[in-house]
Amino acid sequence: MSRILGPARSRRSTRRSVLTVVAVLVALVWAFPVYWMLNSAFLDKVTLQSSTPTFLPFGGSLDNFATVFGDAGFVRALGISLAVTLVTVAAAIVIAFLGALAISRFRFRGRRSFILALLLIQMLPAEGLFIAQYKMMSSVGLLNNVLGLALLYTAAVVPFTVWMLRGFVAGVPVELEEAAMVDGLSRTKAFLRITFPLLAPGLVASGVYAFLQAWNEFTVALVVMTEEQSRTLPLWLRGFVQASATRETDWGQVMAASTVVAVPVIVFFLVVQGRMSNGLVGGAVKG
């Protein structure tokens, strides 16, 4: 028996090692742009402009980061991005939570249409709407306004957050709440003391999702934040890309700026990743 299985097994383990090497190579290729951003962020202009690239940040410094944080444009864009993101996250959590509660705890007329509308809206491309949104914001005087942009962002994230939270709300058994009510708590109290704490992970995941969308968004911001004074971080970063078309760019500084924008996102993203892809393909994965 072992003589029959032996060669096959060892052939299989050689194959496994070869494929592992391939996987590691693919990983290096895929992560390379991220590494290249980090690496260049520590290097100075002269090093980066030389004809041979520098692959390791030895002899690098934090100067580029100091320049970024000393840039008035960056500080202003950071403030605007933080404000827009905070408003979006807070508004999206509250509104989506109420919506999720309605569709997972109540059967009401129009429930199916509401869910269908949410799912369809979630697919609508910002690019097919932004001209009208620009026109609308300009007619109510909300161009270049933090709250105006946050309004558009909240509307863009609410459909998916309702959909994601619905699963969490449905996961808390109604019986728990009812048991608490039998024990003499009012419906509201039972909900606040029993159900709400169980929902915390879902609320966190929705909040992080809203954060990622609002922090990274480029298209809508480009259209409604028309003044240089009201740029969000992605728009501020775009300024560097535009400048690179016509003149020699200090790429180290651009990469440091990109790193500052990207790091919070990467951290939050790793926290919420599992939840998000479940929401998108959940049913199909479970089969």
Partner: protein
């Protein structure tokens, strides 16, 4: 679509036959749904409606300065249908979308199978790399990529020089074709992680017994893939392919930023940048609205299957 988005719950048909209603507070769900409804109608429903109306109007520069728009019926659409430029852009967008979506899914499937075939450590390394690429904010990715392909001292030209291609000082963004290839590479790089990790999640649901049994019965690697693995993960593959088609049709940021970085704008427009240019550049809101409507209808048509499958899961 506007009508479903804005329909108040009372008028909508199809009462749910499923789980028994909870003891009634009849108006509670209405109050809970109200904030989402108001928000979506104000921020999305109204613009869609405005766009439908404006697409039937002449709304150009004069209207920006206060002249009332003029009703022109289907004339914007007629102009679009007879405008060769639009057909070129629609064709380019669809081709770009299909090439990107298919390559993304093919590479993603390959990487998912690879993850299933390697040691745990190898898999972990690959997953971390994919997550890093996935997590990058799109504009930050674009700054890195514009630098990598930069003609002055970008890494790409240096590497090509090293393998013997005379690429020194070559600007990849001035040729429409190489511009679109660069854009496609970036889009695929960004999209593969989601696809690979989703398909891999699907693969982990397969029972090892089935695969082992097939192997004992003499099914080779290719046969197992073709007859057992692929049919079982087909639902995941079709969903991610569909999502990729929808997302790649609306690609905007990557194209816009590459154009900003010195690319030729007129010959590289896809639907999104074309609408942007019509609206903010030429100030022709009537035409921009008509193109937007076309884009929205295309999206809804492609999404329909996906939305239906999610609805099935819901009930």
């Amino acid at each position: 679509m506007t009508s479903t988005a804005t329909a108040p719950p009372e008028t909508a048909p199809a009462p749910e036959p499923t789980p028994p209603a909870r003891p009634a507070r009849r108006h509670t769900p209405a109050w809970l749904v109200l904030p989402s409804l108001v928000l979506l109608v104000a921020a999305l429903g109204y613009p869609v409606g405005w766009q439908v109306v404006t697409s039937f109007q002449h709304f150009g520069m004069m209207q920006q300065f206060g002249q009332p728009p003029e009703w022109v019926g289907l004339s914007n659409y007629a102009t679009l249908v007879t405008d060769p430029e639009l057909w070129v852009i629609v064709g380019r967008s669809i081709a770009f979308c299909i090439v990107c979506a298919l390559s993304t899914v093919a590479i993603g499937l390959g990487l998912a199978l690879l993850m299933g075939a390697v040691t745990r450590a190898g898999r972990l390394v690959l997953q971390v790399a994919l997550l890093l690429a996935w997590a990058m904010p799109v504009v930050a990715s674009m700054t890195v990529w514009t630098w990598i392909v930069n003609w002055r001292n970008g890494l790409l030209n240096w590497a090509l020089e090293r393998v013997g291609v005379d690429a020194q000082g070559h600007n990849w963004l001035v040729e429409p074709l190489s511009f679109l290839v660069v854009a496609a590479v970036i889009v695929v790089w960004m999209s593969v992680p989601f696809v690979a990790l989703s398909i891999y999640a699907g693969l982990t649901q397969l029972s090892p017994e089935v695969l082992e049994a097939a192997e004992i019965d003499g099914a080779g690697g290719w046969k197992r893939l073709r007859h057992i693995i692929l049919p079982l993960v087909a639902p995941v593959i079709s969903i991610v392919l569909l999502l990729q088609l929808i997302w790649d049709l609306r690609v905007f940021t990557q194209i816009k930023l590459l154009q900003d970085a010195g690319g030729v704008a007129n010959e590289t427009h896809l639907l999104g940048t074309f609408i942007y240019q019509l609206g903010t550049g030429a100030g022709d809101f009537g035409m921009a609205s008509a193109v937007s409507i076309v884009m929205l209808l295309l999206t809804v048509a492609i999404s329909w299957y996906y939305v239906r499958s999610l609805m099935k899961e819901e009930s």
